[in-house]
Symmetry: C2
Subunit: 125 residues, 2 copies
């Protein structure tokens, strides 16, 4: 059994780059965030919590995550129809990294904005 060559996102053709890009897609971190506790959520409910996402893009992003094995999709043929999405064990392992990234953005917002103002003032001068 040969050892796999180590994946390395710095390498031009390493497929781990696409994995990283999926993980950092515009809406993926937000969807992981609302599913983070492991409980299933319905399509409509996700759409409400992730403010501003369109149904088309939500469907696309959920499909992509399902394909990568991050979540499961369970359709119930009830009336009205019901579809539940739930993170898989693999998906749950992304929760902590994504949570850290999200918290960084939320907690350093003011500092970043202050830096921008300083920079823009310098450049204008």
């Amino acid at each position: 059994m040969p050892l796999e060559p180590a994946a390395n996102v710095l390498s031009q053709n390493c497929p781990s780059r696409t994995v990283l890009r999926h993980l950092t897609d515009r809406w993926t971190p937000l969807i992981v965030t609302v599913l983070a506790n492991g409980q299933p959520l319905r399509f409509k409910s996700i759409k409400e919590k992730v403010e501003g996402i369109s149904p088309k893009v939500l469907t696309e992003t959920l499909r992509s995550m399902e394909r990568d094995g991050l979540l499961t999709r369970t359709a119930t043929a009830s009336l009205p129809p019901r579809v539940d999405y739930q993170l898989t064990p693999l998906g749950l392992t992304t929760v902590e990294p994504i949570r850290a990234l999200r918290l960084w953005a939320e907690n350093h917002l003011e500092e970043v904005e202050a830096n921008r103002q300083r920079y823009d003032a310098l450049v204008a001068a």
Copy 2:
């Protein structure tokens, strides 16, 4: 002193969303990765380590990171010219979250690819 309203990336107009998007720009995690040890690197050196990035986009991304206060740019008027980039203390606080994300991508690559094959086989059927 009024308390700041808590930032929340799930809110449509919360400016923390743009901070998160910057952090997850196509090249930002890779640039943070090569600067992660805190040592300054020259433009050319970054360009070589982050395989495939064009000089234009590297300049743009570095400028954006400098504006947000993640790194400093130090130009030396020597010949040939020399410009060093180095993570700031703020930038260094992104290293761990980004490292976790990168490691996830690299370490779960095979599992993700296996899931994709399974999914595509099912959908084709």
